[in-house]
């Protein structure tokens, strides 16, 4: 009997913006993308939940890094751009919803 998509593992994504390109450095930004129709992570006015303090914490919890920060861009020693270094992680799980 064929399983419905909801019974199969689906891709959970996590965008973590770390202080440095090291997976051991502190996280400055956190965005989960759940494989649930209509899901949208929100900026909150209350204290946000921070389940992980580092990218490594997430890896220990079973997340896999699928994209490391791009470091090949031209380096400017005077100007600033985005906050932190972006890691993208995934976890394949059966998810409710």
């Amino acid at each position: 009997m064929t399983k419905s998509p909801k019974e199969l593992p689906r891709q959970r994504l996590l965008y973590l913006h770390a202080r440095t390109p090291s997976p051991l450095s502190a996280i400055l930004g956190y965005t989960p993308i759940e494989p649930i129709k209509g899901f949208r992570p929100e900026i909150v006015a209350e204290e946000a939940e921070w389940p992980y303090q580092t990218v490594h914490d997430a890896v220990v919890d079973g997340w896999q890094i699928i994209q490391f920060p791009h470091l090949q861009a031209p380096f400017d020693d005077r100007d600033l751009d985005v906050v932190g270094y972006e890691f993208i992680l995934q976890k394949m799980e059966v998810v409710d919803g």
Partner: protein, 262 residues
């Protein structure tokens, strides 16, 4: 220069350079905030730049000595209240707004223009407050590049008391939370601009505040401009970014001191 009792201190100016925002609480006449809020509640259409003609009492906010003092301190006595202003009404049940910088990516490392956000009612976390990210005003980041950020450590929701005016650097990253309350959330945005370069400080500057030297041990606890500009790191960014921030802050501070004109 006229009344100097409401000018900012060296530390307040330094903190504005570091964080990109400064909050004041003008003691407006009793009932004024409520009157303005009632008028806004009753509006059916957004009058755009004509909001001050529609709600003339808003001029009392712009003319308050505490507001004038902050503006004079940061933009000089000849600052301009620009014609663009806007009523930001966030209806009950409306969703959050993603992070963005206004306009195009032509950012300014000086203090030449910023916003004044006036809130006529108390703003609770449920009402969809403006949320800002301190220290991001010197970042030249296309808004598209912010699409994968949601909550950022150090973000500040402007949950404020009625009558508060928050001055925010034009390039500061900002968004809003969702309005989960049953009421409209009102904010009037004004835009202010420098018209003349400083030849001297326009705030309550005390030259001796610059003579204390660096004290690494103070870090985030510093109360003097030298150490605030050197060590404050509101987001906890990396050393490389922090060193760049320091250089930009110092350039900005020197500009405000009038050193560029000397």
């Amino acid at each position: 220069m006229g009344d100097q009792s409401h000018l900012l201190t060296d530390a307040e100016v330094a903190n504005f350079i570091v964080t990109g925002y400064h909050i004041v609480h003008p003691d407006l006449p009793p009932g004024l905030n409520e009157k303005i809020a009632a008028q806004l509640d009753a509006l059916e259409d957004n009058p755009g730049d004509a909001i001050t003609e529609t709600v003339p009492d808003l001029h009392q906010v712009l003319d308050h000595p505490v507001v004038v003092g902050a503006l004079s301190s940061l933009l000089g006595d000849t600052y301009e209240v620009q014609s663009h202003r806007h009523w930001h009404c966030k209806p009950a049940g409306s969703g959050f707004m993603s992070w963005h910088q206004d306009s195009t990516n032509n950012r300014d490392h000086h203090i030449n223009r910023f916003l004044g956000l006036y809130y006529p009612t108390d703003i609770t976390p449920e009402m969809g407050p403006t949320v800002i990210v301190p220290g991001t005003q010197f970042r030249n980041a296309p808004t598209d590049r912010m699409a994968t950020y949601t909550n950022i450590k150090g973000q500040v929701p402007l949950t404020v008391k009625a009558g508060t005016v928050a001055f925010t650097h034009y390039d500061l990253w900002h968004g809003t939370a969702a309005n989960r309350s049953t009421v409209k959330r009102h904010m009037i945005k004004f835009l202010f601009k420098r018209t003349t370069e400083n030849s001297a400080p326009t705030w309550n500057h005390e030259p001796e505040s610059l003579t204390g030297g660096h004290n690494w041990n103070l870090r985030g606890q510093a109360k003097d401009p030298v150490n605030i500009l050197s060590f404050a790191n509101p987001l906890g960014v990396s050393q490389s970014d922090h060193y760049k921030e320091r250089a930009i802050r110092q350039t900005c501070w020197n500009h405000l001191l009038g050193k560029d004109a000397q």
